[in-house]
Protein backbone atom coordinates (compact mmCIF):
# COMPACT_ATOMS: atom_id res chain seq x y z
CA UNK A 1 0.00 0.00 0.00
CA UNK A 2 1.52 3.26 -1.09
CA UNK A 3 1.62 5.91 1.53
CA UNK A 4 1.93 9.57 0.62
CA UNK A 5 5.19 10.93 1.94
CA UNK A 6 4.60 13.80 4.33
CA UNK A 7 6.13 17.15 3.38
CA UNK A 8 9.43 17.44 5.17
CA UNK A 9 10.27 21.13 5.75
CA UNK A 10 13.70 20.58 7.27
CA UNK A 11 15.77 20.92 4.07
CA UNK A 12 14.06 24.25 3.47
CA UNK A 13 15.15 25.57 6.87
CA UNK A 14 18.72 24.80 5.93
CA UNK A 15 18.33 26.31 2.49
CA UNK A 16 16.56 29.46 3.66
CA UNK A 17 19.65 31.63 4.41
CA UNK A 18 21.03 30.93 0.95
CA UNK A 19 17.66 31.46 -0.68
CA UNK A 20 17.21 34.76 1.17
CA UNK A 21 20.65 35.93 0.14
CA UNK A 22 19.97 35.06 -3.49
CA UNK A 23 16.57 36.74 -3.37
CA UNK A 24 17.84 39.98 -1.89
CA UNK A 25 21.25 40.19 -3.53
CA UNK A 26 20.55 38.76 -6.99
CA UNK A 27 16.87 38.56 -7.88
CA UNK A 28 15.83 41.89 -6.38
CA UNK A 29 18.64 43.94 -8.03
CA UNK A 30 17.88 42.30 -11.38
CA UNK A 31 14.25 43.34 -10.95
CA UNK A 32 15.37 46.90 -10.18
CA UNK A 33 17.49 46.90 -13.33
CA UNK A 34 14.56 45.69 -15.39
CA UNK A 35 12.28 48.36 -13.92
CA UNK A 36 14.96 51.03 -14.44
CA UNK A 37 15.20 50.15 -18.12
CA UNK A 38 11.70 51.57 -18.62
CA UNK A 39 12.57 54.97 -17.08
CA UNK A 40 13.42 58.04 -19.15
CA UNK A 41 16.78 59.79 -18.87
CA UNK A 42 15.86 63.49 -18.99
CA UNK A 43 19.22 65.06 -18.37
CA UNK A 44 22.67 64.06 -17.05
CA UNK A 45 21.85 61.88 -14.07
CA UNK A 46 18.21 62.95 -13.97
CA UNK A 47 15.69 60.17 -14.53
CA UNK A 48 11.96 60.31 -14.83
CA UNK A 49 9.89 57.41 -13.59
CA UNK A 50 7.97 56.01 -16.52
CA UNK A 51 6.90 52.86 -18.28
CA UNK A 52 8.00 53.22 -21.87
CA UNK A 53 10.15 51.26 -24.31
CA UNK A 54 12.34 54.06 -25.65
CA UNK A 55 15.57 52.57 -24.33
CA UNK A 56 14.72 49.15 -25.70
CA UNK A 57 13.81 50.71 -29.03
CA UNK A 58 17.25 52.39 -29.16
CA UNK A 59 18.92 49.08 -28.39
CA UNK A 60 17.01 47.22 -31.09
CA UNK A 61 17.38 49.86 -33.81
CA UNK A 62 20.83 51.38 -33.25
CA UNK A 63 23.48 49.42 -35.17
CA UNK A 64 26.14 50.75 -32.79
CA UNK A 65 24.78 48.38 -30.14
CA UNK A 66 24.44 45.49 -32.58
CA UNK A 67 28.02 46.01 -33.64
CA UNK A 68 29.13 45.92 -29.99
CA UNK A 69 27.22 42.68 -29.40
CA UNK A 70 28.88 41.16 -32.45
CA UNK A 71 32.35 42.34 -31.40
CA UNK A 72 31.83 40.99 -27.91
CA UNK A 73 30.65 37.63 -29.22
CA UNK A 74 33.58 37.45 -31.62
CA UNK A 75 36.11 38.34 -28.90
CA UNK A 76 34.61 35.81 -26.50
CA UNK A 77 34.80 33.06 -29.13
CA UNK A 78 38.42 33.88 -30.03
CA UNK A 79 39.51 33.95 -26.39
CA UNK A 80 37.60 30.75 -25.56
CA UNK A 81 39.05 28.79 -28.48
CA UNK A 82 42.60 29.98 -27.79
CA UNK A 83 42.23 29.28 -24.07
CA UNK A 84 40.91 25.79 -24.85
CA UNK A 85 43.98 24.95 -26.92
CA UNK A 86 46.48 26.68 -24.66
CA UNK A 87 44.86 25.37 -21.48
CA UNK A 88 44.48 21.74 -22.48
CA UNK A 89 48.20 21.11 -22.73
CA UNK A 90 49.21 22.21 -19.20
CA UNK A 91 46.09 20.54 -17.79
CA UNK A 92 47.10 17.28 -19.47
CA UNK A 93 50.62 17.68 -18.21
CA UNK A 94 49.57 18.30 -14.61
CA UNK A 95 47.11 15.39 -14.69
CA UNK A 96 49.66 12.94 -16.09
CA UNK A 97 52.92 14.03 -14.52
CA UNK A 98 54.68 11.65 -12.18
CA UNK A 99 55.90 14.64 -10.21
CA UNK A 100 55.11 13.88 -6.60
CA UNK A 101 54.12 17.37 -5.55
CA UNK A 102 51.21 17.86 -7.89
CA UNK A 103 49.61 20.28 -5.44
CA UNK A 104 52.54 22.60 -6.05
CA UNK A 105 51.70 22.80 -9.75
CA UNK A 106 48.06 23.48 -8.90
CA UNK A 107 49.16 26.11 -6.42
CA UNK A 108 51.20 27.80 -9.15
CA UNK A 109 47.99 27.92 -11.15
CA UNK A 110 46.09 29.62 -8.36
CA UNK A 111 48.97 31.86 -7.34
CA UNK A 112 48.12 34.64 -9.86
CA UNK A 113 44.74 35.08 -8.14
CA UNK A 114 46.61 36.51 -5.17
CA UNK A 115 47.48 39.58 -7.24
CA UNK A 116 44.73 41.92 -8.36
CA UNK A 117 43.68 41.16 -11.89
CA UNK A 118 43.98 44.84 -12.80
CA UNK A 119 47.63 44.85 -11.77
CA UNK A 120 48.23 41.62 -13.67
CA UNK A 121 46.59 43.16 -16.73
CA UNK A 122 48.65 46.33 -16.45
CA UNK A 123 51.83 44.29 -16.27
CA UNK A 124 51.48 43.76 -20.04
CA UNK A 125 52.28 47.43 -20.55
CA UNK A 126 55.74 46.65 -19.16
CA UNK A 127 56.06 43.56 -21.29
CA UNK A 128 54.60 44.56 -24.65
CA UNK A 129 54.72 48.36 -24.48
CA UNK A 130 57.11 50.50 -26.54
CA UNK A 131 59.48 50.70 -23.56
CA UNK A 132 58.54 47.19 -22.50
CA UNK A 133 60.64 44.09 -22.05
CA UNK A 134 60.07 42.57 -25.50
CA UNK A 135 60.93 45.74 -27.40
CA UNK A 136 63.88 46.36 -25.08
CA UNK A 137 65.35 42.96 -25.92
CA UNK A 138 64.66 43.32 -29.65
CA UNK A 139 66.35 46.73 -29.79
CA UNK A 140 69.26 45.56 -27.65
CA UNK A 141 69.77 42.61 -30.01
CA UNK A 142 69.65 45.01 -32.92
CA UNK A 143 66.75 43.17 -34.54
CA UNK A 144 64.78 46.39 -34.83
CA UNK A 145 65.49 50.10 -34.51
CA UNK A 146 61.97 51.25 -33.82
CA UNK A 147 59.91 49.63 -31.07
CA UNK A 148 57.24 47.34 -32.54
CA UNK A 149 53.78 48.51 -31.59
CA UNK A 150 52.03 45.67 -29.74
CA UNK A 151 49.88 47.54 -27.28
CA UNK A 152 46.45 49.15 -27.42
CA UNK A 153 44.98 46.92 -30.07
CA UNK A 154 42.82 43.81 -30.26
CA UNK A 155 45.85 41.54 -29.96
CA UNK A 156 46.82 43.04 -26.61
CA UNK A 157 43.25 42.64 -25.35
CA UNK A 158 43.24 38.96 -26.38
CA UNK A 159 46.60 38.40 -24.66
CA UNK A 160 45.26 40.08 -21.51
CA UNK A 161 42.12 37.95 -21.47
CA UNK A 162 43.98 34.70 -22.05
CA UNK A 163 46.43 35.58 -19.32
CA UNK A 164 43.71 36.19 -16.76
CA UNK A 165 41.21 33.48 -17.70
CA UNK A 166 43.53 30.60 -18.63
CA UNK A 167 43.66 29.17 -15.07
CA UNK A 168 39.87 28.66 -15.15
CA UNK A 169 40.23 26.60 -18.30
CA UNK A 170 43.21 24.62 -17.01
CA UNK A 171 41.52 23.81 -13.70
CA UNK A 172 38.33 22.61 -15.38
CA UNK A 173 40.12 20.46 -17.92
CA UNK A 174 42.46 19.15 -15.23
CA UNK A 175 39.55 18.04 -13.06
CA UNK A 176 37.96 16.08 -15.88
CA UNK A 177 41.28 14.55 -16.92
CA UNK A 178 41.93 13.51 -13.32
CA UNK A 179 38.61 11.69 -13.30
CA UNK A 180 39.52 9.47 -16.27
CA UNK A 181 40.60 5.94 -15.41
CA UNK A 182 44.36 5.65 -15.95
CA UNK A 183 44.05 2.26 -17.58
CA UNK A 184 41.82 3.39 -20.44
CA UNK A 185 44.61 4.71 -22.63
CA UNK A 186 46.79 1.60 -22.09
CA UNK A 187 43.71 -0.51 -22.83
CA UNK A 188 43.19 1.33 -26.11
CA UNK A 189 46.90 1.02 -26.87
CA UNK A 190 46.90 -2.75 -26.44
CA UNK A 191 43.86 -2.98 -28.70
CA UNK A 192 45.82 -1.36 -31.50
CA UNK A 193 45.83 2.43 -31.05
CA UNK A 194 48.88 4.60 -31.51
CA UNK A 195 49.34 7.04 -28.60
CA UNK A 196 47.63 9.79 -30.60
CA UNK A 197 44.71 7.55 -31.59
CA UNK A 198 44.30 6.46 -27.98
CA UNK A 199 44.15 10.10 -26.92
CA UNK A 200 41.59 10.91 -29.60
CA UNK A 201 39.42 7.85 -28.93
CA UNK A 202 39.46 7.90 -25.15
CA UNK A 203 40.97 10.85 -23.33
CA UNK A 204 39.70 13.67 -25.51
CA UNK A 205 36.02 12.61 -25.57
CA UNK A 206 36.06 11.85 -21.85
CA UNK A 207 37.59 15.24 -21.04
CA UNK A 208 35.06 17.15 -23.17
CA UNK A 209 32.82 17.95 -20.19
CA UNK A 210 35.71 19.74 -18.48
CA UNK A 211 36.69 21.46 -21.69
CA UNK A 212 33.09 22.59 -22.15
CA UNK A 213 32.81 23.82 -18.55
CA UNK A 214 36.07 25.76 -18.86
CA UNK A 215 34.93 27.17 -22.18
CA UNK A 216 31.63 28.32 -20.71
CA UNK A 217 33.40 30.09 -17.88
CA UNK A 218 35.95 31.77 -20.13
CA UNK A 219 33.26 32.74 -22.64
CA UNK A 220 30.99 34.30 -20.03
CA UNK A 221 33.85 36.02 -18.20
CA UNK A 222 35.24 37.48 -21.43
CA UNK A 223 31.86 38.59 -22.72
CA UNK A 224 31.16 40.36 -19.44
CA UNK A 225 34.51 42.18 -19.14
CA UNK A 226 35.19 45.85 -19.59
CA UNK A 227 38.41 46.52 -17.67
CA UNK A 228 40.82 44.64 -19.95
CA UNK A 229 39.78 46.58 -23.11
CA UNK A 230 40.14 49.85 -21.16
CA UNK A 231 43.68 49.02 -20.03
CA UNK A 232 45.04 47.15 -23.05
CA UNK A 233 42.76 48.09 -25.95
CA UNK A 234 42.62 50.99 -28.38
CA UNK A 235 39.62 53.27 -28.84
CA UNK A 236 37.91 50.73 -31.12
CA UNK A 237 38.44 47.67 -28.96
CA UNK A 238 35.47 48.23 -26.71
CA UNK A 239 33.16 45.37 -25.71
CA UNK A 240 29.52 45.44 -24.70
CA UNK A 241 30.53 45.83 -21.08
CA UNK A 242 32.28 49.10 -21.95
CA UNK A 243 29.00 50.50 -23.30
CA UNK A 244 27.36 49.73 -19.97
CA UNK A 245 30.25 51.36 -18.13
CA UNK A 246 30.06 54.45 -20.35
CA UNK A 247 26.29 54.74 -20.04
CA UNK A 248 26.31 54.44 -16.26
CA UNK A 249 29.58 56.19 -15.30
CA UNK A 250 30.29 58.70 -18.08
CA UNK A 251 26.88 59.62 -19.42
CA UNK A 252 25.06 59.08 -16.14
CA UNK A 253 22.27 57.55 -18.22
CA UNK A 254 21.14 54.86 -15.82
CA UNK A 255 18.01 53.79 -17.71
CA UNK A 256 20.07 53.02 -20.84
CA UNK A 257 22.75 51.39 -18.68
CA UNK A 258 20.06 49.25 -17.09
CA UNK A 259 18.73 48.28 -20.53
CA UNK A 260 22.19 47.29 -21.74
CA UNK A 261 22.97 45.39 -18.52
CA UNK A 262 19.78 43.43 -18.76
CA UNK A 263 20.51 42.66 -22.41
CA UNK A 264 23.97 41.28 -21.60
CA UNK A 265 22.55 39.24 -18.74
CA UNK A 266 19.88 37.86 -21.03
CA UNK A 267 22.28 36.97 -23.86
CA UNK A 268 24.75 35.25 -21.53
CA UNK A 269 21.81 33.53 -19.84
CA UNK A 270 20.91 32.03 -23.22
CA UNK A 271 24.50 30.77 -23.62
CA UNK A 272 24.33 29.10 -20.21
CA UNK A 273 20.93 27.55 -20.96
CA UNK A 274 22.19 26.14 -24.26
CA UNK A 275 25.26 24.80 -22.48
CA UNK A 276 23.32 23.15 -19.68
CA UNK A 277 20.91 21.69 -22.21
CA UNK A 278 23.79 19.78 -23.81
CA UNK A 279 26.36 19.34 -21.08
CA UNK A 280 24.55 19.70 -17.78
CA UNK A 281 25.94 22.01 -15.13
CA UNK A 282 27.27 19.25 -12.86
CA UNK A 283 30.72 19.43 -14.39
CA UNK A 284 30.95 23.07 -13.45
CA UNK A 285 30.21 22.35 -9.80
CA UNK A 286 32.82 19.63 -9.81
CA UNK A 287 35.55 21.99 -10.94
CA UNK A 288 34.51 24.81 -8.65
CA UNK A 289 34.25 22.66 -5.53
Amino acid sequence: MAKATAFDPRPWYLLSPALLAIAFLVIAPICFILVYSFYINVDLGVDEVAFQFGNWQDLLTDSYYHNAIWKTFRMAVIVTVLAAFLGYIPAYFIAHTNFRRKWLLLLLLILPFWVSFIIRTMSWIHIMGNQGAINGVLIWLGLTDEPISMMYNEFAVIVGFIHVFLPYMILNVYVSLEGIDRNLEPAARTLGCTPWQAFREVTLPLSLPGLAAGSLLVFVLTAGSYVTPIILGGPNDFLFGNLIYDAVVSELNWPMGATLSFTLLFLLGIVVVIYSRFMGLNQLYKALS
Binding site: P186, L191, G192
Partner: protein, 363 residues
Protein backbone atom coordinates in the same frame (compact mmCIF):
# COMPACT_ATOMS: atom_id res chain seq x y z
CA UNK B 1 49.29 -18.27 -29.54
CA UNK B 2 52.84 -17.82 -28.66
CA UNK B 3 55.43 -18.55 -26.11
CA UNK B 4 56.64 -15.66 -23.99
CA UNK B 5 60.19 -15.63 -22.68
CA UNK B 6 61.87 -13.25 -20.30
CA UNK B 7 65.65 -13.33 -20.46
CA UNK B 8 67.45 -11.59 -17.62
CA UNK B 9 64.83 -8.86 -17.51
CA UNK B 10 65.54 -5.96 -15.17
CA UNK B 11 63.47 -2.88 -14.50
CA UNK B 12 64.41 0.07 -12.37
CA UNK B 13 62.43 3.18 -11.61
CA UNK B 14 65.08 5.70 -10.73
CA UNK B 15 67.08 4.17 -7.89
CA UNK B 16 64.39 1.60 -7.14
CA UNK B 17 64.98 -1.82 -8.65
CA UNK B 18 61.49 -3.22 -9.25
CA UNK B 19 62.49 -6.34 -11.16
CA UNK B 20 65.88 -8.00 -10.68
CA UNK B 21 67.23 -10.17 -13.50
CA UNK B 22 64.20 -12.34 -14.02
CA UNK B 23 64.10 -15.38 -16.32
CA UNK B 24 60.69 -16.89 -16.96
CA UNK B 25 59.31 -19.06 -19.75
CA UNK B 26 55.60 -18.86 -20.35
CA UNK B 27 54.77 -21.99 -22.31
CA UNK B 28 52.57 -21.74 -25.37
CA UNK B 29 48.92 -22.16 -24.41
CA UNK B 30 49.68 -22.33 -20.69
CA UNK B 31 48.09 -20.44 -17.85
CA UNK B 32 50.91 -19.00 -15.76
CA UNK B 33 50.42 -17.00 -12.60
CA UNK B 34 52.77 -14.39 -11.24
CA UNK B 35 52.09 -14.53 -7.53
CA UNK B 36 53.43 -12.26 -4.86
CA UNK B 37 52.64 -9.47 -2.43
CA UNK B 38 52.11 -5.95 -3.71
CA UNK B 39 55.33 -4.31 -4.80
CA UNK B 40 57.02 -7.59 -5.69
CA UNK B 41 57.33 -6.62 -9.36
CA UNK B 42 54.66 -8.90 -10.79
CA UNK B 43 52.58 -6.12 -12.32
CA UNK B 44 55.72 -4.46 -13.68
CA UNK B 45 56.56 -7.71 -15.48
CA UNK B 46 53.07 -7.86 -16.95
CA UNK B 47 53.33 -4.26 -18.10
CA UNK B 48 56.71 -4.97 -19.68
CA UNK B 49 55.27 -7.92 -21.61
CA UNK B 50 52.46 -5.62 -22.72
CA UNK B 51 54.93 -2.96 -23.76
CA UNK B 52 53.57 -0.39 -21.32
CA UNK B 53 56.94 -0.32 -19.54
CA UNK B 54 60.34 -0.70 -21.15
CA UNK B 55 62.77 -3.11 -19.50
CA UNK B 56 65.98 -1.50 -18.24
CA UNK B 57 67.90 -4.63 -19.15
CA UNK B 58 67.37 -8.06 -20.66
CA UNK B 59 65.12 -9.26 -23.47
CA UNK B 60 61.46 -10.08 -23.85
CA UNK B 61 60.54 -12.53 -26.59
CA UNK B 62 57.04 -13.26 -27.82
CA UNK B 63 56.78 -16.20 -30.20
CA UNK B 64 60.57 -16.21 -30.48
CA UNK B 65 60.72 -12.58 -31.61
CA UNK B 66 62.44 -9.93 -29.49
CA UNK B 67 59.82 -7.30 -28.76
CA UNK B 68 61.72 -4.82 -26.56
CA UNK B 69 61.35 -2.12 -29.19
CA UNK B 70 57.94 -3.11 -30.56
CA UNK B 71 55.32 -0.55 -29.48
CA UNK B 72 52.25 -1.68 -27.55
CA UNK B 73 49.82 -1.40 -30.43
CA UNK B 74 51.85 -3.73 -32.62
CA UNK B 75 52.21 -6.57 -30.10
CA UNK B 76 48.74 -8.11 -30.53
CA UNK B 77 48.03 -8.71 -26.86
CA UNK B 78 44.84 -8.70 -24.87
CA UNK B 79 44.87 -7.17 -21.41
CA UNK B 80 42.23 -7.39 -18.73
CA UNK B 81 42.70 -4.83 -15.97
CA UNK B 82 41.65 -5.04 -12.34
CA UNK B 83 39.17 -2.17 -12.68
CA UNK B 84 37.80 -3.41 -16.06
CA UNK B 85 38.98 -0.29 -17.96
CA UNK B 86 35.98 -0.35 -20.27
CA UNK B 87 35.46 2.82 -22.29
CA UNK B 88 32.56 4.47 -20.45
CA UNK B 89 31.51 6.60 -23.44
CA UNK B 90 31.17 3.64 -25.77
CA UNK B 91 28.54 0.90 -25.84
CA UNK B 92 29.44 -2.69 -24.99
CA UNK B 93 29.38 -3.50 -28.71
CA UNK B 94 31.75 -0.61 -29.50
CA UNK B 95 34.00 -1.58 -26.62
CA UNK B 96 34.41 -5.13 -27.84
CA UNK B 97 34.71 -4.10 -31.48
CA UNK B 98 37.34 -1.47 -30.62
CA UNK B 99 40.35 -3.69 -31.31
CA UNK B 100 38.72 -5.10 -34.45
CA UNK B 101 38.25 -1.59 -35.83
CA UNK B 102 42.00 -0.99 -35.57
CA UNK B 103 42.68 -4.30 -37.24
CA UNK B 104 40.67 -3.32 -40.29
CA UNK B 105 37.92 -5.89 -39.72
CA UNK B 106 34.77 -5.00 -41.66
CA UNK B 107 31.72 -3.82 -39.80
CA UNK B 108 29.68 -6.95 -40.58
CA UNK B 109 32.48 -9.34 -39.57
CA UNK B 110 33.08 -7.32 -36.41
CA UNK B 111 29.41 -7.55 -35.41
CA UNK B 112 29.56 -11.32 -35.83
CA UNK B 113 32.75 -11.61 -33.80
CA UNK B 114 31.36 -9.36 -31.08
CA UNK B 115 28.27 -11.48 -30.71
CA UNK B 116 30.39 -14.65 -30.65
CA UNK B 117 32.61 -13.15 -27.96
CA UNK B 118 29.54 -12.21 -25.92
CA UNK B 119 28.35 -15.82 -26.22
CA UNK B 120 31.70 -17.05 -24.92
CA UNK B 121 31.45 -14.85 -21.82
CA UNK B 122 27.75 -15.79 -21.48
CA UNK B 123 26.35 -12.27 -21.86
CA UNK B 124 24.61 -12.38 -25.23
CA UNK B 125 22.60 -9.42 -26.47
CA UNK B 126 24.06 -6.59 -24.39
CA UNK B 127 25.76 -4.82 -27.34
CA UNK B 128 23.75 -1.63 -27.04
CA UNK B 129 24.14 -1.07 -23.32
CA UNK B 130 26.76 1.08 -21.68
CA UNK B 131 29.36 -0.30 -19.23
CA UNK B 132 27.85 1.47 -16.21
CA UNK B 133 24.57 -0.35 -16.81
CA UNK B 134 26.26 -3.67 -16.04
CA UNK B 135 27.41 -5.10 -12.71
CA UNK B 136 31.09 -5.43 -11.83
CA UNK B 137 31.23 -9.10 -12.72
CA UNK B 138 29.48 -8.47 -16.03
CA UNK B 139 31.83 -5.60 -16.83
CA UNK B 140 34.82 -7.83 -16.23
CA UNK B 141 33.36 -10.43 -18.61
CA UNK B 142 32.99 -7.72 -21.22
CA UNK B 143 36.61 -6.70 -20.62
CA UNK B 144 37.58 -10.34 -21.18
CA UNK B 145 35.49 -10.48 -24.36
CA UNK B 146 37.17 -7.30 -25.59
CA UNK B 147 40.59 -8.82 -24.94
CA UNK B 148 39.98 -12.20 -26.59
CA UNK B 149 37.94 -11.03 -29.60
CA UNK B 150 41.14 -9.80 -31.29
CA UNK B 151 42.58 -13.33 -31.00
CA UNK B 152 45.65 -12.11 -29.14
CA UNK B 153 48.95 -13.96 -29.06
CA UNK B 154 49.04 -13.54 -25.31
CA UNK B 155 46.32 -12.76 -22.80
CA UNK B 156 47.48 -10.65 -19.87
CA UNK B 157 45.32 -10.60 -16.77
CA UNK B 158 46.19 -7.95 -14.19
CA UNK B 159 44.41 -9.00 -10.98
CA UNK B 160 41.14 -9.25 -12.92
CA UNK B 161 39.16 -10.70 -10.02
CA UNK B 162 40.35 -8.47 -7.17
CA UNK B 163 37.63 -5.86 -7.57
CA UNK B 164 34.83 -8.42 -7.34
CA UNK B 165 33.16 -9.72 -4.20
CA UNK B 166 34.07 -13.15 -2.86
CA UNK B 167 31.30 -15.33 -4.33
CA UNK B 168 31.51 -13.77 -7.76
CA UNK B 169 35.28 -14.06 -7.65
CA UNK B 170 35.15 -17.82 -7.27
CA UNK B 171 32.49 -18.20 -9.93
CA UNK B 172 34.38 -16.07 -12.43
CA UNK B 173 37.71 -17.74 -11.78
CA UNK B 174 36.30 -21.10 -12.82
CA UNK B 175 34.79 -19.51 -15.88
CA UNK B 176 37.97 -17.65 -16.77
CA UNK B 177 39.93 -20.87 -16.60
CA UNK B 178 37.34 -22.70 -18.73
CA UNK B 179 37.41 -20.01 -21.42
CA UNK B 180 41.21 -19.94 -21.40
CA UNK B 181 41.26 -23.71 -21.89
CA UNK B 182 38.75 -23.53 -24.71
CA UNK B 183 40.56 -20.89 -26.74
CA UNK B 184 44.00 -22.10 -25.63
CA UNK B 185 45.61 -18.68 -25.48
CA UNK B 186 48.90 -18.27 -23.61
CA UNK B 187 47.86 -16.45 -20.46
CA UNK B 188 49.77 -14.52 -17.84
CA UNK B 189 47.79 -13.93 -14.69
CA UNK B 190 48.92 -11.56 -11.97
CA UNK B 191 47.54 -11.93 -8.47
CA UNK B 192 48.41 -11.64 -4.81
CA UNK B 193 45.75 -14.19 -3.93
CA UNK B 194 47.36 -17.60 -3.38
CA UNK B 195 44.10 -19.52 -3.63
CA UNK B 196 43.41 -18.01 -7.07
CA UNK B 197 46.92 -18.93 -8.12
CA UNK B 198 46.61 -22.51 -6.87
CA UNK B 199 43.17 -23.03 -8.38
CA UNK B 200 43.78 -21.60 -11.83
CA UNK B 201 47.38 -22.05 -12.83
CA UNK B 202 49.28 -24.55 -14.89
CA UNK B 203 52.38 -22.94 -13.49
CA UNK B 204 53.00 -20.54 -10.64
CA UNK B 205 55.88 -18.07 -10.45
CA UNK B 206 56.23 -16.85 -6.88
CA UNK B 207 57.87 -13.46 -6.63
CA UNK B 208 59.17 -11.33 -3.82
CA UNK B 209 61.08 -8.05 -3.88
CA UNK B 210 61.62 -8.14 -7.64
CA UNK B 211 63.01 -11.67 -7.72
CA UNK B 212 61.58 -15.03 -8.69
CA UNK B 213 61.48 -17.14 -5.54
CA UNK B 214 60.25 -20.32 -7.16
CA UNK B 215 58.46 -21.48 -10.27
CA UNK B 216 56.65 -24.71 -10.84
CA UNK B 217 53.33 -26.47 -10.90
CA UNK B 218 50.88 -25.54 -8.14
CA UNK B 219 51.36 -28.80 -6.19
CA UNK B 220 55.11 -28.51 -6.44
CA UNK B 221 55.20 -24.93 -5.19
CA UNK B 222 52.76 -25.70 -2.44
CA UNK B 223 54.19 -28.99 -1.20
CA UNK B 224 57.85 -28.36 -1.79
CA UNK B 225 58.47 -24.67 -1.19
CA UNK B 226 61.99 -23.65 -2.14
CA UNK B 227 62.32 -20.72 0.24
CA UNK B 228 60.88 -19.58 3.54
CA UNK B 229 59.06 -16.84 1.69
CA UNK B 230 57.24 -19.30 -0.56
CA UNK B 231 56.43 -21.52 2.40
CA UNK B 232 54.82 -18.75 4.35
CA UNK B 233 53.19 -16.95 1.42
CA UNK B 234 51.27 -19.97 0.11
CA UNK B 235 48.92 -21.17 2.78
CA UNK B 236 49.86 -21.18 6.45
CA UNK B 237 53.15 -22.85 7.21
CA UNK B 238 55.01 -23.45 10.44
CA UNK B 239 58.74 -22.97 10.34
CA UNK B 240 60.57 -24.90 13.03
CA UNK B 241 64.30 -24.34 13.56
CA UNK B 242 66.37 -27.45 13.11
CA UNK B 243 69.95 -28.72 12.78
CA UNK B 244 70.86 -31.67 10.63
CA UNK B 245 72.24 -34.48 12.83
CA UNK B 246 73.07 -36.99 10.14
CA UNK B 247 72.40 -37.38 6.45
CA UNK B 248 73.28 -40.89 5.48
CA UNK B 249 70.93 -43.49 4.12
CA UNK B 250 67.51 -42.71 2.74
CA UNK B 251 66.64 -40.24 5.46
CA UNK B 252 68.01 -37.07 6.90
CA UNK B 253 67.82 -36.83 10.66
CA UNK B 254 67.22 -33.43 12.16
CA UNK B 255 67.31 -32.12 15.71
CA UNK B 256 64.70 -29.65 16.81
CA UNK B 257 64.35 -27.99 20.15
CA UNK B 258 60.63 -28.54 20.42
CA UNK B 259 59.96 -31.81 18.65
CA UNK B 260 63.21 -33.59 19.41
CA UNK B 261 65.00 -35.70 16.81
CA UNK B 262 63.24 -37.18 13.78
CA UNK B 263 63.98 -38.24 10.21
CA UNK B 264 62.67 -36.72 7.00
CA UNK B 265 62.98 -38.16 3.48
CA UNK B 266 66.28 -37.24 1.87
CA UNK B 267 64.65 -35.57 -1.15
CA UNK B 268 62.82 -33.20 1.20
CA UNK B 269 66.03 -32.00 2.80
CA UNK B 270 67.34 -29.84 -0.07
CA UNK B 271 70.78 -31.45 0.09
CA UNK B 272 71.56 -30.29 3.61
CA UNK B 273 74.52 -32.04 5.17
CA UNK B 274 75.31 -32.87 8.81
CA UNK B 275 75.65 -29.81 11.01
CA UNK B 276 73.71 -27.54 8.61
CA UNK B 277 71.12 -25.28 10.14
CA UNK B 278 67.72 -25.18 8.55
CA UNK B 279 64.01 -24.90 9.09
CA UNK B 280 61.45 -27.64 9.01
CA UNK B 281 58.32 -26.57 7.14
CA UNK B 282 55.14 -28.13 8.49
CA UNK B 283 51.95 -26.98 6.80
CA UNK B 284 49.21 -25.89 9.16
CA UNK B 285 46.82 -28.52 7.83
CA UNK B 286 49.44 -31.23 8.45
CA UNK B 287 49.81 -30.29 12.10
CA UNK B 288 47.52 -32.54 14.16
CA UNK B 289 46.25 -31.73 17.61
CA UNK B 290 45.44 -34.43 20.13
CA UNK B 291 44.07 -34.26 23.66
CA UNK B 292 47.04 -34.07 26.06
CA UNK B 293 48.77 -37.40 26.69
CA UNK B 294 46.88 -39.19 23.93
CA UNK B 295 49.34 -38.56 21.09
CA UNK B 296 49.85 -41.71 19.00
CA UNK B 297 52.76 -43.90 20.03
CA UNK B 298 55.90 -43.51 17.93
CA UNK B 299 54.81 -40.22 16.33
CA UNK B 300 56.64 -36.93 16.55
CA UNK B 301 54.84 -34.67 18.96
CA UNK B 302 55.28 -31.98 21.56
CA UNK B 303 53.08 -30.75 24.38
CA UNK B 304 51.37 -27.42 23.81
CA UNK B 305 48.54 -25.11 24.78
CA UNK B 306 45.75 -23.75 22.61
CA UNK B 307 46.22 -19.99 22.69
CA UNK B 308 43.52 -18.86 20.30
CA UNK B 309 40.97 -20.40 18.01
CA UNK B 310 39.59 -19.00 14.79
CA UNK B 311 36.36 -20.80 14.07
CA UNK B 312 35.38 -20.77 10.37
CA UNK B 313 32.43 -23.15 10.09
CA UNK B 314 33.58 -26.43 8.62
CA UNK B 315 37.20 -25.79 9.57
CA UNK B 316 38.91 -24.30 12.57
CA UNK B 317 42.29 -22.66 12.89
CA UNK B 318 44.21 -22.99 16.14
CA UNK B 319 47.11 -20.95 17.37
CA UNK B 320 49.12 -23.23 19.58
CA UNK B 321 51.95 -22.39 21.95
CA UNK B 322 54.77 -24.93 22.03
CA UNK B 323 57.59 -23.74 24.27
CA UNK B 324 58.68 -20.35 22.98
CA UNK B 325 57.09 -20.61 19.52
CA UNK B 326 53.56 -20.29 18.23
CA UNK B 327 52.32 -22.74 15.62
CA UNK B 328 49.23 -22.77 13.46
CA UNK B 329 47.03 -25.75 12.90
CA UNK B 330 44.08 -25.93 10.53
CA UNK B 331 41.71 -28.83 10.50
CA UNK B 332 38.23 -30.03 9.77
CA UNK B 333 36.17 -29.97 12.89
CA UNK B 334 35.80 -33.39 14.39
CA UNK B 335 33.44 -33.23 17.32
CA UNK B 336 33.72 -30.03 19.31
CA UNK B 337 36.75 -27.77 18.88
CA UNK B 338 39.40 -27.44 21.57
CA UNK B 339 38.78 -24.54 23.92
CA UNK B 340 41.36 -21.84 24.40
CA UNK B 341 43.76 -22.75 27.19
CA UNK B 342 43.39 -26.49 26.65
CA UNK B 343 46.55 -28.54 27.13
CA UNK B 344 47.10 -30.61 23.98
CA UNK B 345 49.72 -32.57 22.12
CA UNK B 346 50.90 -31.29 18.74
CA UNK B 347 51.86 -33.95 16.23
CA UNK B 348 53.76 -33.56 12.97
CA UNK B 349 54.26 -36.10 10.19
CA UNK B 350 57.99 -36.06 9.28
CA UNK B 351 57.36 -37.66 5.87
CA UNK B 352 55.21 -34.64 4.91
CA UNK B 353 57.78 -32.06 6.01
CA UNK B 354 60.34 -30.19 3.99
CA UNK B 355 63.62 -28.83 5.38
CA UNK B 356 64.84 -25.50 4.03
CA UNK B 357 68.35 -24.17 4.53
CA UNK B 358 68.51 -21.31 7.04
CA UNK B 359 68.47 -18.01 5.16
CA UNK B 360 70.97 -15.24 5.54
CA UNK B 361 69.21 -12.08 6.60
CA UNK B 362 68.02 -10.56 3.32
CA UNK B 363 70.00 -7.66 1.92
Amino acid sequence: MAQVELRGVTKSFGAFLAVKTVDIDFQEGSFTTLLGPSGCGKTTILRMIAGLEKPTGGDILIGGRRVNDVPVHKRNLGIVFQNYALFPHKTIGENIAFGLKYRGVSRADAAKKVSDALDIVRLPGVEDRYPTQLSGGQQQRIALARAIVIEPDVLLLDEPLSALDANLREELRVELKTIQHRIGVTSVFVTHDQSEALAMSDRIVVMSAGRVQQQGEPEEVYNAPATEFVASFLGAANLIEATVASADGADVVVDTRHFGRFAVPKKAANGLGPGARGKVVARAEKLKLYPAASAPEGGVSAPGTVEATDYQGQIVRYFVRVGDIQLQSVGMIDGSPFQEGTEIAVGIRPDECVVLPAEEPSE
